[in-house]
Amino acid sequence: MNEVPLSHILFLSTALFFIGAYGLFTRRNMITMLMSIELILNSVNINFIAFNKYLYPNRLEGVFFTIFIITIAAAEAAVAIAIIINLYRSHHSIDVEDAGEMKF
């Protein structure tokens, strides 16, 4: 593990974060936007684990942050999908452009 420098792992997580951001910018379907958010959250988790392993191996703080992020991501995905299914029932579309009245 020690042959790979920390900056290469950070390259991976940064690239994954911006891939998720690209998906968030270009997609207009709510479920695919949710998938992009999952990619972004995973890149943050990789960061926490890598920092914990490389810089502070005497602690477990990064592990706990990762566990709580995964927990909250699961709750967030479940609530978002409930909202999407309810929106599909009333609008017959899950495109964000068709849900404009939620803004006001």
């Binding site: 593990m1 042959e3 790979v4 290469h8 950070l10 390259f11 991976l12 940064t14 690239a15 994954l16 911006f18 891939i19 998720g20 951001a21 690209y22 998906g23 270009t26 997609r27 207009r28 379907n29 479920i31 695919t32 949710l34 998938m35 992009s36 999952e38 990619l39 995973n42 988790n45 990789i46 684990i49 890598a50 914990n52 392993k53 490389y54 810089l55 502070y56 191996p57 005497n58 602690r59 592990v63 706990f64 990762t66 566990i67 709580f68 995964i70 927990t71 991501a73 699961a74 709750a75 995905a77 479940a78 609530v79 999908i81 409930a82 909202i83 299914i85 309810n86 599909y88 029932r89």
Partner: protein, 172 residues
Amino acid sequence: MSASAIIFYCLAAFILGTGLLAVTTWKIFRSAIWLLFSLTGIAGLYFWLQMEFIAAVQIIVYVGGIVVLIIFSLFLTQASGKEMPKPPAGRMIFSALAVITGFALTYLLIHQHAFLPARQPAIEASVANIGTQMLSTTEHGYLLPFELASMLLLAAMIGCIVIAIKIKPEEK
């Protein structure tokens, strides 16, 4: 280059390639499957970093839970073989430009920063250590966030049922 480094670069290429396919393919079901591969690759990365517990949690919660939930909701709301409408070309070009600029700026900062190597002795991230620290009430214990997370999960569960419940029309 040792075998460990080769495994890391293969995993990184796998994660980035499947992640990129997940956000660029225009068939929505394929996008979900590419996301599944990407999350599995991240679990492999955690195994590579010797964080077995986090890797197991990643597989159970993300791969087994969230992606399955996403695929269920795809089948409930979409014709899964259909292609999604493409956004206007201007939006794709400008978001690609914004993303590449942001990535270059961030990686420049990371590249210039000198990370100090760790001097302290490492402790093992075993399930016993994680569990002891998570349920302890001392200075570095995580009992309060643990309890709050359980309340959040309960609230999310009730909220999902309330939001997604189907109200039957009154029978007359």
